[in-house]
């Protein structure tokens, strides 16, 4: 049960205010109210909630109640995946949806029915990895999701075919190859699973709107090699306080794939003052900030190897006494963490084989189907 509902701006001003029950003392802080802050117009909230009780959150139901037109809000989160869209300016393949297409509100105006024949199917994986300083893998964790965003009329049936070697659990065996194994799968309640056992086909009649069709998790054994390996070497001269870090980053993706927006973040000991750098490519950038080194690599091709040599002065770094250069890292250095996006790549190897629609629009062209695969880093940490 909800008594009141606020959306506050970053300054603490209430942006949306709704007093459902009138029992919690009224609006004493509410000064600002941005009715059309979000893509949802303001008049739907009494339908979602009545007297503080959730009535329904189904898009299908709500659509009937919304009379005003939706206003697209600008994406306000950098990590909002739908707004990452097509991963920067990469347009190698011709069949690419405009990046704004997926962030269009599903509740588009009622008049332009003709443009709505589109379906977006995204396979998105979040990867968390922990690599020990000797290079051994301590933890791999993949959280995957198949998200569907449908602009088709509700109730039109579709079938999603997944990779046939898709196995659930440790014991199941399918196909002749190594298979694609996940630990746990959960489906949306509207998914029909008659053909899942035999052919790995999901059947569903999605309502117009967004829907997470399937969630899965996978830990510890990954079928493909990890996307990145880091080979650090550290030289530290205690006497002069000179710290030299040589980082070699190898991308183990297949040669045709690439990683985008790669950023390496390396915490440094306190008191680092200057940085001199030698980078292997012109488009790379490295800088110091907030007690850490940041190395930006806009694009890394699969199979390539990049390196950076960083020299820093760390005056007065406390440590056990000793003279001369040493290879042991000073305390406070590392662990390095990487963030990146891998378009058209899933770490688990899961692919959507096909997306078939039973729906035939009257007179219009076939609906557009967009199937996208994407992996991105949740936490990719390498100890030094």
């Amino acid at each position: 049960m909800i008594s009141q509902f606020f959306i506050l701006s970053s300054k603490g001003d209430p942006l949306i205010y709704k007093d459902f029950r009138g029992d919690s003392g009224g609006r004493d802080v509410a000064e600002l109210f941005y009715r059309k802050l979000t893509g949802l117009p303001g008049d739907e909230s009494p339908v979602v909630m009545d007297y503080g009780y959730v009535q329904t959150t189904s898009m299908e139901m709500l659509r009937n109640f919304i009379q005003t037109e939706a206003v697209v809000s600008k994406p306000f989160s950098l990590f909002d995946l739908s707004s990452v869209g097509l991963f920067g300016a990469e347009t190698q393949q011709s069949k690419v949806a405009p990046s704004s297409a997926a962030s269009r509100p599903v509740l588009a105006s009622r008049s332009d029915q003709s443009q709505k024949n589109e379906v977006f199917l995204d396979v998105v994986e979040r990867l968390s990895v922990l690599i020990a300083s000797n290079g051994s893998l301590l933890k791999v964790d993949v959280q995957g999701e198949i998200r569907l965003k449908s602009f088709l009329p509700s109730g039109s049936e579709m079938r999603i075919g997944l990779t046939e070697e898709f196995c659930v659990g440790k014991s199941e065996l399918r196909g002749y190859g190594p298979g694609i194994r996940v630990d746990e799968v959960s489906f949306h309640s509207s998914v029909l699973l008659e053909e899942f056992e035999s052919h790995r086909i999901l059947r569903l009649q999605p309502p117009q709107g967004e829907l997470t069709v399937m969630r899965y998790q996978l830990s510890d054994d990954l079928p493909s090699p990890l996307p990145f390996r880091l080979f650090p070497s550290v030289q530290w001269d205690r006497g002069s306080g000179r710290l030299q870090v040589y980082l070699k980053l190898r991308c183990d993706l297949p040669p045709k794939s690439q990683a985008l927006n790669v950023r390496l973040h390396l915490p440094l000991p306190r008191g680092v003052v200057s940085l001199s750098q030698e980078l292997s490519g012109p488009e790379q950038k490295a800088e110091l900030g907030e007690g850490a080194l940041r190395w930006d690599l806009p694009r890394v091709q699969g199979g390539s190897q990049l390196s950076g040599l960083f020299q820093m002065d760390v005056p007065g770094l406390p440590g056990p006494p000793g003279q001369g250069p040493s290879t042991s890292a000073p305390l406070g250095l590392g662990p390095a963490s990487l963030s990146f996006e891998l378009p058209r790549h899933t770490c688990s190897g899961l692919q959507v084989r096909f997306l078939r629609l039973a729906f035939r629009p009257c007179g219009n062209a076939n609906p557009h189907k967009w199937v996208r695969h994407l992996s991105h880093s949740d936490a990719y940490v390498i100890r030094i």
Partner: protein
Amino acid sequence: MPYLGSEDVVKELKKALCNPHIQADRLRYRNVIQRVIRHMTQGLDMSGVFMEMVKASATVDIVQKKLVYLYMCTYAPLKPDLALLAINTLCKDCSDPNPMVRGLALRSMCSLRMPGVQEYIQQPILNGLRDKASYVRRVAVLGCAKMHNLHGDSEVDGALVNELYSLLRDQDPIVVVNCLRSLEEILKQEGGVVINKPIAHHLLNRMPKLDQWGQAEVLNFLLRYQPRSEEELFDILNLLDGFLKSSSPGVVMGATKLFLILAKKFPHVQTDVLVQVKGPLLAACSSESRELCFAALCHVRQILHSLPGHFSSHYKKFFCSYSEPHYIKLQKVEVLCELVNDENVQQVLEELRGYCTDVSADFAQAAIFAIGGIARTYTDRCVQILTELLGLRQEHITTVVVQTFRDLVWLCPQCTEAVCQALPGCEENIQDSEGKQALIWLLGVHGERIPNAPYVLEDFVENVKSETFPAVKMELLTALLRLFLSRPAECQDMLGRLLHYCIEEEKDMAVRDRGLFYYRLLLAGIDEVKRILCSPKSDPSLGLLEDQAERPVNSWASDFNTLVPVYGKARWATISKYQGAERRGPELPNTASFATSGPLIPEESKETGQELPDSGALTLVPNCQLTAEYFEKTWFSLKVAHQQVFPWRGAVHPDTLQMALQVVNMQTIAMSRAGAHPWKAYLSAQDDTGCLFLTELLLEPENSEMQISVKQNEPRTETLNSFISVLETVLGTIGNIKS
């Protein structure tokens, strides 16, 4: 933001609303109304145009209607007389052919929140309950609750309640759930909606049709139903099995709670359920939603209290990533600390060590404390890690490490040697009060093993004038006196200086008094000082063992899937007490619970530092005088409501026990002499509702357990549980004093 000049705005809008040209143009009219609403939501007082807005409600345009009704619901409490004018339109709309309009009008009418509206809304609500359209029925059902709320605390309308109960059989799932919500509010005074067998079975069968919100709520309501037979119970559990695998975490948690509560007599079923729910819980712990992740982590901790090994093989899931917010990292560190076992301790400690050098000082300190917690079991490895951390010479790290050492030396005396070797040198990196106190304490207690202890303390004595924290000075006094006993030659001079300073120059009275006290103690002779300062300390291992005792699942099952695990039991009790008092209003007497009923623990037991658990609504009446005859008669006429054994060591001191029981208002009817075998005692107590608790304590000579049997003249489990916890606390306290 046009905060100022709102009068002009109102005037202008009023003019526009009255303009017949605008009224004729539907779009322009709607635009003006939208401007009114926008100003309203921005905090401007728009009540001036109420009349004009009421007029605007008579329209066929549904958007305009919606906007006007929104306006009316906001300002109706300010202008009740004018709002009555709108009732007519609303009533008319309640019989509109369009169900959307009917529902909208009914909902707005019920939300008006002004006195006198009840008589107008009653009939439309009754009509709405029988409406063809499910949307209107949904609104009408909740309208019943709103109407009841408007009436204040008047009596419940029996016919309406019956109608709502019958609507539980409605076709529409949302109507069903709304009925439950509405009944719950209307019958709040009587303990909420009653779930009997037919209703429970009906709801169970409807479960698959509900959406996830409804499912989660219905699962909560089903907690009230107690199956009659074991067979029925397992039928229900079978029916609900699928919901443990639901894709909505809320439903999974609701189903888990129901399983845990229903199967409270079947521990193996409970364990099975907790195994099944492991996957979904772990998934929620790594969810993208931080809030979900946090709540899941809190529940993981709750489960770990009962099943310490439950998540040990998944320890990697609880490693922190650098991008996570602080509160999640702290929870994860706590979880890691609790699931350590022989197999994963190496990896967990390595991971925690990485956190100790985190940029955030708070997180680093939490990680160090966590290593300190693990050190109670894996002492050597942890002490080694902590010693290495001292080498970093970072202030915020050193101070926490030294504090951890202090606790560790106390709990695990075997590590004293290692700690003493690590200490020299760290005084340079400690600036804060807590750290200094810990260091000075260690130097005082174990100074004979640390060669330079007197010189470190001497530095503190030299700088005592500039020391800002009185607590540090007090600690310094005690430590120096202790060290003086073991190394008199090195300390005599500076002890004299310190005492002189504290007595003659110190301004803080507590420090001065302590100084005077030690001075006079020294006058009494060195043997006397030794007797007082070095007398045997209590055995710390007892308290430690109590902490680690596994709690049965049933002790927290009722808190599962509530806010209790998120806030913690004690904090939640405070919050809900405060809220409850606020709701009830100040004129109601606060039902004095044990927490507020004054000193409860006998004076001598306070130093054990044990707090009484909050005993909820139980209040024992102080002067419950029962004759032995009456007690005997009642005792034999009742059945044993609760029986348990309580660990006990040694003999009983009847006087102490009797006194302690009196403090908590338990009367002793009869008691064996000290040393009798078997030893027995009969106690009686009565709470403020007249419920009697009769208790027998039985101590057999051969086994070291106290058997407690409690009888109760009214079967109320909640108060019984509170009573037993009070009794246990008293017995525990007495037991501690003697040992």
